[in-house]
Each structure stands twice: as structure tokens, then as C-alpha cells.
């Protein structure tokens, strides 16, 4: 007869197998597309037309695909720079504006506060494609058409409703007493915001930053419409040019290389900021 301890040990073993099995299986499905693209980007030119499986290069690694990618437009570095400029600019502007707006909505009392807030949130329901034409005209009037700064401003605008909402919630979660204690301690205005409150709303800022970065980095349609010169293309727009290929033949190798290049900064930003998702920073503040 088996003892209860053995039964328990067996059960624990099966539990562990199931737990890790499901985890590994799920992770596989998420990681496989990355792996396939990444491996395929190292195929030599001669293999780039082959069926996708197996994805790895058969006759040795080669950087043909990356060289091909670099031959489009103004070179991959220029477009990478364009994308980074627009995305990072979007992140900073979005964070700066939404922190101030979120703080204001959370802490100050002013007429029509809730109506204004609802109005801001309501703009999320407007598909931005529908306002692209007016935006285009406004940017043209401002002399910002076909400029990366103009594109950045459009992205910030699109990003703000969600970000203000996030930051208001983040500030709402900070107990009023902490702010009052800081006021008694003599921290006022900007000092109060930077020294005491910003560290406490860091999870909110991280979320806003990640979303702003990813959305600006991946955005295609507005960039396609608003940017007219080749040199200003951001990566997503460049990728369509690459996909269209030359003389109608699609250069699959260059496409895979482009995908790999585009994924890396996203991963980097996410890994950099994800630790701020960590809960429990507030623990111990009150109660």
C-alpha cells in the first residue's frame, strides 16, 4: 500500500509537470514567430525564396538580407534614426503633458472638471483615420507637413487621451496624506511633483511610455500620409517600400531583416520599463 506521503509527492510532481508544460507550450507559441523571422533573416540571397520551413539558413549564415535592406531609401540607419526620433520624442512629450494633466485632474478642483475629462476620454472613440485629412491641412498650414516633428505632434495628440486617463488614475492612487506631509515638510510645486509624487506614479509613467513608444514606432498610416519625401520615412513606411520590392519581385530576405530590426527596440523598451510594472511600491506608505 502506498503511503500518503508518496501519494502527495506524486501529485506534486504531476502538478509541476502540468504547470511547466503549459507554461513552456504557451511561451513556444509566443516566441516561435520571433525565432522564425530572426533565423530567416540570416539566410543567404539564394535561399530567400525557399519555403519558410525550416526557417534557419541551410548553407551557412549570411548578412545578405541586411545588406539588401540597407539599399532601400536613404539607408536603414537614416530610417532607424527617423523612427527613434519620432518615437522617443512622442514618449517624452506624452509623459510630460499627461503627468501634468493627470495631476491636475486628480488633485485640483475646477469648473467642468468631469465634463472635460469625459470629453478627453471620448476622443478615444473617434477613429483617427477620419481626422487625418484635417490634421494634414492643419500641419500644412503650420508648415509642418512632411516633417518628423509634425508627425511626432500628431502621435502625441493621438496618445494623450489614454495617457491622461492612466496618469489620473495613477495620481488618484497616491494617498492625499503623503502629499500633505510633503507640503508640511516644505516641498512645493515642482519639487513636490518631482521629489515625492513622480516616484510613486512611476508604474503609470512606465505604462504610458511603453504604449506611446510602441504605438509611435509601429504606426503606419499617418506616417504614410503625412510624410512625402523618401528620406523622412519611418521604418513601417520603409517596410512597405521593401515589401513592394524591385520590378515586382518581393525580397523576402530584406522583409525578414526589416522585421528583426523593428522588433529589437520594442523588446528593449519593454524590458527596460517592465520592472516598474512591479506592484507593491506603494506598500507601507499608509496603514
Amino acid at each position: 500500500m502506498r503511503t500518503r506521503r508518496e501519494i502527495r509527492a506524486r501529485k506534486a510532481l504531476w502538478d509541476r509537470i502540468a504547470y511547466h508544460g503549459i507554461g513552456i507550450g504557451t511561451a513556444f507559441f509566443f516566441l516561435a514567430p520571433f525565432a522564425v523571422s530572426f533565423l530567416a533573416s540570416f539566410r543567404p540571397n539564394s535561399e530567400s525564396g525557399r519555403p519558410p520551413l525550416p526557417p534557419w539558413p541551410i548553407s551557412g549564415m549570411s548578412f545578405d538580407a541586411y545588406r539588401a535592406l540597407d539599399s532601400f531609401g536613404a539607408g536603414i540607419w537614416q530610417h532607424m534614426f527617423n523612427s527613434l526620433l519620432v518615437s522617443i520624442g512622442t514618449v517624452f512629450l506624452t509623459v510630460a503633458v499627461s503627468v501634468l494633466a493627470g495631476y491636475g485632474f486628480s488633485r485640483y478642483r475646477f469648473p467642468f472638471k468631469n465634463a472635460l475629462f469625459v470629453l478627453i476620454i471620448a476622443t478615444l472613440m473617434i477613429p483617427f483615420q477620419s481626422i487625418l485629412t484635417p490634421l494634414f491641412i492643419i500641419l500644412a498650414r503650420l508648415g509642418l507637413n512632411n516633417s518628423l516633428v509634425g508627425l511626432m505632434l500628431v502621435y502625441v495628440t493621438l496618445q494623450l487621451p489614454f495617457s491622461v486617463f492612466m496618469m489620473r488614475n495613477a495620481f488618484d492612487a497616491v494617498p492625499k496624506e503623503i502629499e500633505e506631509a510633503a507640503r508640511i515638510d516644505g516641498a512645493r510645486d515642482l519639487k513636490l511633483l518631482v521629489r515625492v509624487l513622480l516616484p510613486l506614479v512611476m508604474p503609470g509613467i512606465a505604462t504610458v511610455s511603453i504604449f506611446a513608444f510602441l504605438n509611435a514606432w509601429n504606426e503606419f498610416f499617418a506616417a504614410l500620409v503625412l510624410l512625402s519625401s523618401n528620406d523622412n520615412y519611418t521604418l513601417p513606411v520603409l517596410m512597405t517600400a521593401v515589401r513592394a520590392g524591385r520590378l515586382g519581385a518581393i525580397n523576402w530576405g530584406a522583409v525578414q531583416a526589416g522585421v528583426a530590426v523593428m522588433v529589437v527596440p520594442c523588446l528593449f523598451v519593454f524590458l527596460l520599463l517592465q520592472r516598474y510594472y512591479m506592484r507593491g511600491l506603494m506598500a507601507g506608505a499608509v496603514k
Binding site: P175, E177, A181, K191, M282, G284
Partner: protein, 361 residues
Amino acid sequence: MANGISNKSVVLSDIRKSYGGLEVIHGIDLTIEEGDFVVFVGPSGCGKSTLLRMIAGLEEVTEGEIAIKGRDVTDLDPSERGIAMVFQSYALYPHMSVSENLGFGLKMARTDPAEIERRVAQVSAILKIDHLLDRRPGQLSGGQRQRVAIGRAIVRKPDVFLFDEPLSNLDAELRVSMRIEIARLHRELGNTMVYVTHDQTEAMTLADQIVVLRDGRIEQAGSPRGVYEDPANMFVAGFIGSPRMNFLDAEWQGDGTIRVGEATLEAAIDGGSLKHGERLLLGVRPEHIAVAEPGPERITAQVEFSEYLGGTRYLYCQLEDGQSLVVEQRDGPDWQAGERLSFAVPEDRRRFFAEDGRRLR
């Protein structure tokens, strides 16, 4: 006190506060002497916190004037008033270590780092938190957090300490020890302290002066003993003391006596304004009622049930006409439910109130 002004630590003159159109503090006048420990008590929502926060400068004063150490601070920033506050929820900065928490106010005031370090060390020694200086608030127990919060107030060397129910998040045992700690701090530092609490024991044991508030007005201010033994009105008499004072319906006889149920009691009050047969209330604290031999001056009541608390016993009784009476007994036999007893009330323990709550003297 010869030099009047300098002995006054906090002076509130006709303080009013409205939220929107609703007035919640209706003209408070209060003078707090230098070094006094003043406790605000009152039912929930009576404006204790609001008043304290107005002294702190966290809440704007709608009307009136606040002076601290003879200086009008009504429109000054909280940090410029010479006050420090300890919150019920501690309100520590969660992203800073204990020593950073303690030193934050000094840092904001651009104090020399060496001086900050010295004062933080000194205060953490007083509060016995010196072994915790590198921890974050999240890694502390409730009592330790409260010590840090108190330490953060002490470090700034304020003229006045403000406490808003600082102990109500702690468990009973810790509460007692922190209460003693606060009393010790007050003795050692000698600062003026203003303390808001729900807890009668805290109020009684800590206070030099108790301020009883109701609906944004001061009902009575005085020493714990004065408030307990000589209440200004029925509200104060009923609010201070646990179990609360018994109030029995009585009738003025016109000849210096009152009738309570079957009993006739002497009443040492000025009956000039009272009509014969006018109704009033007799107030007696449970501990002043004693079981006695029957007689004309005795109130008779039936025991409903009793509670034994170890050392003391509360008898919950009912008078003939259904009024209830709580009696505290220190010793004597156990009384069974249903027994009829006679109770004596010493003459100097009787308090009389008019029907509208005024004290009759």
C-alpha cells in the same frame, strides 16, 4: 503669567470653515498655552480633523485668524507655520528609506547634510528606530511606521505638534505603549501638542486641556477632571465617560427637591427659574451609584442583567417607568436578574440638566 502674549502658543479667533455653501466650523475661539497638550474630542464628523488641518495650513480658513507664537499664520504655507503633523495613516514616503523620510523636511529647508545626519541620528535614538534607518516603510511594522512618522515630526523642531488620530491604526496593546511614549515625548520635548482622538482613555490620560466639539462648535474646554466632573451641559456629560452618565427623568418639586420615580432627592440648584412640576434631568455616573437599604431617598430598580469585567461589574437595571440605569460595582454580592434593588446617590454626585441640555447649577 506676566508676559501674556509669549505664553500663548496657538490662538484661534472666530475660526469658520465652509465647504461650498455649507458651514462646518461655526466660529471657534480657543487659546492654547505654550507647552500644553490639548486634545480635541467629539463625535464623528464634528470637525476635529478640519480644525486641526486648518491649524496645519492644509485647509484654508474661510473666516477668522490663526496665530502661532504671536505670529499671524492664517495665510502662510504649512511649512512656514512652525508646525509638524502626524497622520493617522502615517503618510510616509514609500520610496525613501527611513532616514530619508526623517531628513526630508530638513533637506527641503536646505539644511547642511551633516546637521541633517546629526539630527536624524538623535531623533532615531529617542524613538529607538536607529536600527531601522536603511529600511523602506514597506518593511516596517505598524508601530515602527508610527514611530518614524512621529520622528519625522520631531526632526523639524516645530513649535506645535499636530496629531490626527495617530494611534487608531494600531492594535490595543501597541496603542497603550505608544500612548505612554507620546506622553513621555511631551514631557521631554515640552512642545505644544494638539491631538485629535476618538479614544476617551487617550484623551483623559494625555490631555492638559480637553476640547469637546460638537457640530463645529466648542461645547466645553477644560482639564480632563473639570470636563469629567463638572460638565458644562448634557452633551459633554454624556460624551465623556464610559459607560456614559445615566440621565433620569425628574420633576422639580419647588422646595429644593426633585422626584425621580418613587424617590425624592435633594437638589442643590438654584430653582428660581423653575416652575413647580417642571421636568428636568438628573445625571449620575455609574460608579457613583451604590446599592443601599430601602428608603425614601432611594431609587429602586430591577436588575436586567450584569456584566462581569474582572474587578468591576456593571448592573444594567430598569426603573419602574422603563428608564434604564447602569450601575458600576467594585465588590459586593452577585445580583441575579429580576432582583429589585435600592440605590443611593450621594448628594455631591448629582448633576442636573434642563430639558434642553443646559446644566442647572
